[in-house]
């Protein structure tokens, strides 16, 4: 016998903190995270008084604020009057095998995360600054410097802003490297109903560019169908993948295109407000987006009654505080709400219960940047961009090991070899590609011998790899692949949000196995990978086994297995 008591649709989830945040947001309260970040900017550390005032202002309870203050990297590392943040991303690792970190530690007499006794200097770790085209990189106060001579400049107190990466398109008709001009939005508002726009996006089969590859149209459809007068668009600008600087390019150098995509998403699903979360590691992103938003408002493309239509839409730009997992959509929402950036089980999906508990579309910024083209030109034109392959185009980026690093807009369906050797010109100094990691730390590693693999979702999946975010990161022939495993596992363990058990403990244990000199018990390691892959709550824990399996498959001897 079953009693069918009245219960809400779907699974009941914990929502009290979200509700407290929602109530305070409704009266323009700042989030706890914003208040804590301001305190840190103001006096270099977070005190209990700061936590209490963050609680007071945001509506989060004291304890929850304490939890927030112990979660984000930016809030945890003490700041001296001079705060030096050294990038420990994978591109910097590939460039120096972490020599730049050791040099700085020695020269400053500080370990990562330490502040000098006199409070003058502090050294912190950051992953990653997005200057992978000219690794290694350091952020010295507000200046990000990178490339040859970096350490000397840091020690001389003579850092200078690094050069931003080159970008170009291989497409005759660029989609993502075309400056945003709101023409797609103009056409949609004039000629398409929200449902027609939504149908067009569904027909265009835009697969998510943030890593998961989930069809954007389906997400939109769920959110459009969800009950609720208030809905939100969230643009995921938390490009945490070390080795990627694609979203950075979009947010900083083509922000209008991202905003246009957000407005179109809002029109399609019936949302009047959007949030975009940028990374604190990219200090230029938020100002660039805010400037573009101000310009768009001045032109009538954000704010009330866009383009003279009855549709209103505006955006809020927020900045994170140092957490890789916040790139996961439920953690991203938690971060925007100013809570701990931990992952929540789905369902409910954000389209049902998202930001502030309301229906929310979460798309990666690159995904959204595809939409203006579709709105302007239609799904058919979009499909033509990559004939015979996944529709649309993709931004990829190459790290400093390549002769021509930078951001490129490419079609799907070309070979990895074409991309690595022709477009990016192979490696510098005549080095040989030992392997490339594609799509971030959760992506598989393709050995140099298999570069003929086609760049697209399915062919890469067959090699245990993925398109992921589109970062293509080469390890040259000098690289110690056991060190790669250790580097990736260290990153994985450090960034685990701590919620699900396999990831929280398993990545720690995996990293420990590769930390010493002892050989790694292969059977035990593979069982650990299995538990991580099948047991983890999100792609962080379930994704890190992919590069490990690549290494086991292609470089077993280097891993020193037992």
């Amino acid at each position: 016998m079953v009693s069918y008591a009245e219960r809400p649709e779907g699974i009941v989830v914990s929502q009290n903190l979200v509700e407290l945040v929602r109530r305070h947001h409704a009266v323009q309260a700042p989030t706890a995270l914003e208040v804590l970040k301001q305190a840190l900017e103001h006096h270099g550390e977070i005190t209990d008084a700061d936590r209490r005032s963050a609680a007071q202002a945001s509506g989060l309870p004291d304890a929850a604020v304490y939890g927030v203050s112990t979660f984000y990297d930016d809030l945890l590392q003490p700041r001296g009057r001079r705060h030096v943040r050294v990038c420990t991303g994978t591109a910097c690792f590939a460039a120096t095998a972490d020599a730049h970190v050791e040099q700085l530690e020695q020269a400053l007499g500080l370990e990562l995360g330490q502040r000098s006794a006199d409070g003058e200097v502090s050294l912190a770790e950051t992953v990653c600054l997005g200057f992978c085209h000219s690794s290694p990189a350091v952020r010295d106060g507000d200046v990000i410097d990178s490339g040859p001579g970096l350490i000397e400049r840091v020690l001389a107190g003579a850092t200078r802003p690094a050069t931003e990466p080159e970008w170009s398109s291989t497409l005759t008709e660029p989609v993502l490297t075309r400056p945003g001009d709101f023409s797609g939005l103009a056409r949609a508002l004039a000629e398409l109903t929200p449902q027609q726009l939504l149908d067009e996006v569904k027909q265009a089969n835009v697969r998510g560019r943030g890593g998961a590859g989930f069809p954007a149209g389906a997400k939109w459809q769920f959110a459009a169908a969800a009950d609720g007068e208030q809905k939100y668009i969230v643009a995921n600008g938390d490009e945490g993948d070390p080795g990627s600087f694609i979203d950075k390019y979009l947010m900083e150098r083509n922000p209008a295109l991202v905003l246009e995509g957000m407005a179109l998403a809002g029109y399609a699903v019936g949302a009047s407000h959007g949030f975009i979360l940028t990374r604190s590691e990219y200090p230029l992103s938020k100002p660039a987006l805010e400037q573009a938003a101000a310009a768009a408002r001045a032109q009538g493309w954000l704010g009330e009654e866009l383009g003279g239509s009855s549709f209103s839409f505006d955006v809020t730009v927020l900045e994170g505080a140092g957490s890789y997992v916040v790139g996961e959509e439920t953690a991203l929402i938690a971060c925007i709400e100013g809570r701990r950036g931990t992952v929540s089980a789905r369902p409910p999906f954000p389209a049902q219960r998202g930001l502030h508990g309301l229906p929310t579309v979460v798309n990666n910024v690159e995904t959204l940047a595809n939409v203006p083209f579709i709105a302007a030109r239609g799904a058919a034109a979009y499909a033509q961009l990559s004939p015979g392959a996944t529709p649309g185009s993709k931004l990829v980026c190459f790290n400093e090991r390549f002769a021509r690093p930078g951001v490129y807009e490419v079609s799907f369906g070309v070979s990895m070899r074409e991309l690595c050797e022709q477009l990016a010109g192979g490696l510098v100094d005549g080095r040989v590609i030992k392997a490339v990691q594609i799509g971030g730390p959760l992506g598989g590693i393709l050995p140099g011998s298999r570069l003929d693999t086609t760049f697209d979702f399915e062919p890469l999946a067959a090699e245990g790899c993925m398109v992921g975010h589109g970062g293509i990161l080469a390890f040259d022939d000098r690289t110690d692949m056991r060190a790669v495993a250790r580097h990736l596992l260290r990153f994985g363990a450090h960034e685990s949000c701590g919620k699900c058990f396999p990831c929280r403990i398993g990545l720690k244990r995996a990293h420990e196995q590769f930390s010493g000199e002892a050989p790694v018990d292969r059977e035990r390691f593979e069982q650990l990978l299995e538990a991580l892959e099948l047991g983890s709550l999100c792609a962080h824990g379930s994704g890190l086994p992919a590069p490990m399996r690549s290494l086991l498959a292609h470089f077993p001897d280097e891993l020193r297995l037992a």
Binding site: Q15, E19, L20
Partner: protein, 696 residues
């Protein structure tokens, strides 16, 4: 878990009226731990710090373990035989000299239903008087009276489950997160899940932070607030005309009355902004399912019983009663406030509120008990003290109450106790009251006895003993039977289940109640003979002649006390989360470490005007008494009001309370006392009224 404990027993919490089902885990004859029963109907696997932790008092070193008999100014331990014989001799003497009505008994809202029933039988059958009352007199008698007048039955119309079922709710004169913590937690959760809550209290209670609206009326003006809400509901078309026509009577008069309580007028009386009155009425009136909860902040007033009737008016005029989510839920103070009155431990009624003057009922009890019974109403508690002072009452038998600590006008109560020729106290500790006793009988705490409690949802629930009473202390039912036997009236109950069987046989409303049937989930009265219980009352009709609910056209009247030049502040009294009533139990537990003193809450404006600093000792003087207490400055209270609790004998708050009481039920006006507050000198004379209770 089991292996850690010798035994585990499911019982019911002995603190407030929520009725949490608890699992008591016993090791080596002591309660090692208490956890909530996952299937507890009212607590759903939760409990508060009192229920879970405050059980160490049961093994406190100063528990009474032997009977005590007064010898001059001292008590000496005695055998049970001696003590019972002394009671027999004195009561027999006084009855012979002054008649049975010179003797009175008090049952306890802490006792089980069976004990309260037996206590009333002791007074009615063994002594021969209707002088029996219980402490619900001083808390919820106005609720009981008003619900019976308006709707028919003396109990909540629904259950705590209505909190989750409701879309909106009003809480007036209650602070559930402190007074009824488990229900408070349920309400808080409901508000976070969408319940639109309005709180009405002179203090900004914790739940006000989660409410859509908080109203702070001047103490004693609840009636005007309720009339104002009714006015707006009527004015703005939120009436349920079909319900009024089909199921009620007397609305026309009410309509005439409420027409004169426009929000602006109500603002004049209560200080509540007119717009807030309007908004509150709409929050309640616009939704389909809304409930009203109230506590002693409604009842402990000069016209408390009338305010309860005005609450009923609001529910009747909007048709918000008798459906899931549409309920009237009084928050009962003590674990068995509901049951002690249901069981007829009242001077004017047998079980289920049937009049002692009702010939059929009286005869039924005469047949069952084999004694002639009085048809005359007995004394209420205040009348007992009055009669004692003027010499008409000579003896009292007080079971489980500390009237000298918890009752108002303490000086008068003490005078009454001193005037008695003979006083029996049956309690678990020496209290302020036992100081005046001639015989003290060592009784049992709730973890030591069996029977049933009835919670604020009208739910009978089984109470089971986890441990034995300490020393020679005995279960209360056994003691009452011993005394009755000595007085020549053999009750003959083999156990508490037999008492319940007799109650069921003599009371149609409880016809289907038996210990065997209660099981783990209990039964909500009325319970039909086949065991069908009543989760919701009045689904189809009210329990009044014609089946109709009755409106009451009662205007606002001024409270019995008011601030003036000499006493410029109004004192409101209440409870703290960590303690319970007279503190007899909670002060003997670790709860004392959490909160070890009383304090007076005062608004910053008043504090500044009176040169009072946070943490400073102040003198609080009313028309009848004076206390000293520490001040805490807080904006949770409105200017002009001060608040304190009554858990600590060192601060005998009730010395301040006068004799003013509810016009219909004699419930004291604890909630409105005009006082004068001023700072104390640095080193106050400070003498505790009783020795510090020992911690185990």
């Amino acid at each position: 878990m089991t292996q850690r404990f010798d035994s585990e027993v499911t019982t019911v919490c002995g603190y407030c009226g929520v009725g949490c089902r608890l699992e008591a885990h016993v090791r080596d004859g002591r309660v090692a731990s208490i956890s909530p029963a996952l299937d507890g109907p009212s607590n759903k696997g939760h409990t508060c710090l009192k229920g879970r932790f405050a059980h160490q008092f049961s093994r406190s070193r100063d528990r009474l373990t032997e009977p005590l008999i007064r010898e001059g100014d001292e008590f000496r331990t005695a055998t049970w035989a001696e003590a019972i014989d002394r009671i027999r001799a004195e009561l027999t003497r006084i009855k012979a000299t002054h008649g049975p009505d010179a003797i009175a008994g008090l049952a306890s809202s802490r006792g089980t239903n069976e004990e309260c029933y037996a206590m009333s039988r002791l007074m009615r059958a063994a002594v021969g008087t209707n002088n029996i009352d219980n402490c619900s007199r001083v808390c919820h008698s106005p609720t009981s009276w008003a619900l019976r007048k308006s709707l028919g039955l003396s109990g909540a119309t629904g259950s705590f489950d209505d909190i989750e079922a409701a879309q909106a709710a009003i809480i007036i004169g209650a602070n559930p997160t402190e007074g009824h913590p488990v229900v408070g937690a349920r309400i808080k959760q409901a508000t976070l899940r969408g319940l639109a809550l309005v709180t009405i209290d002179p203090r900004r209670i914790e739940l006000s932070d989660y409410a859509v609206l908080h109203l702070s009326p001047r103490p004693g003006t609840n009636a005007a607030v309720m009339l104002g809400l009714a006015h707006v509901v009527w004015r703005d078309g939120l009436l349920d005309h079909d319900f009024i026509a089909a199921r009620t009577e007397g609305f026309d008069e009410v309509q005439e009355l409420i027409a004169t309580y426009a929000p602006e007028q109500v603002h004049e009386i209560t200080g509540v902004p007119a717009a807030d009155i309007e908004r509150a009425a709409h929050v309640y009136g616009e939704v389909d399912r809304a409930s009203i909860l109230w506590g002693l902040g409604v009842t402990e007033h000069l016209y408390g019983s009338e305010v309860v009737r005005l609450i009923c008016n609001l529910a009747l005029m909007t048709g918000k009663v008798g459906r899931p989510g549409a309920a009237l839920l009084p928050l009962r103070g003590q674990n068995n406030v509901q049951g002690s009155s249901d069981m007829g431990a009242l001077p004017d009624t047998y079980t289920a509120y049937r009049s002692v003057a009702d010939e059929d009922v009286a005869q039924a009890f005469e047949r069952a008990w084999g004694e002639p019974l009085s048809r005359e109403k007995g004394y209420t508690i205040p009348q007992m003290f009055g009669a004692a002072v003027d010499g008409r009452l000579k003896a009292m038998y007080i079971f489980g109450e500390d009237v000298a600590q918890s009752d108002p006008n303490t000086a008068h109560v003490i005078k009454a106790l001193e005037s008695l020729e003979f006083l029996v106290c049956q309690d678990i500790f020496q209290t302020e009251t036992t100081r005046y006793a001639d015989v003290v009988l060592p009784a049992s705490a709730f973890l030591e006895k069996d029977g049933t409690f009835t919670n604020a949802e009208r739910r009978f629930q089984l109470v089971a003993p986890a441990i034995d009473p300490p020393g020679n202390a005995k279960p209360d039912l056994e003691i009452i039977q011993m005394v009755s036997r000595a007085l020549g009236h053999e009750m003959g109950y083999a156990d508490s289940a037999a008492v319940m069987d007799e109650i069921a046989a003599l009371t149609p409303e409880y016809a289907g109640v038996s210990h065997a049937r209660l099981g783990r989930r209990g039964l909500q009265w009325p319970v039909a003979a086949d065991g069908t219980d009543s989760v919701i009352l009045y689904r189809d009709q009210f329990e009044l002649p014609g089946g109709r609910g009755r409106f009451a056209a009662l205007p606002y009247k001024q409270p019995g006390d008011a601030a003036d030049q000499e006493f410029p502040l109004v004192l409101v009294t209440g409870r703290r989360l960590q303690h319970y009533n007279a503190g007899t139990m909670t002060r003997r537990t670790g709860n004392l470490q959490l909160v070890d003193r009383e304090w007076l809450e005062i608004h910053p404006d008043d504090a500044e005007r009176l040169w009072i600093e946070d943490g400073q000792r102040v003198s609080v003087r009313s028309r009848v008494g004076r206390i000293e207490v520490e001040a805490r400055v807080t904006d949770r209270i409105e200017p002009g009001h001060v608040f304190t609790a009554f858990h600590f004998p060192e601060v005998r708050t009730n010395l301040l309370i006068g004799s003013s009481a509810d016009v219909n039920t004699s419930c004291p006006e604890y909630k409105v006392v005009a006082v004068d507050v001023r700072p104390m000198a640095e080193q106050p004379a400070f003498t505790p009224a009783v020795p510090e209770p020992a911690l185990i």
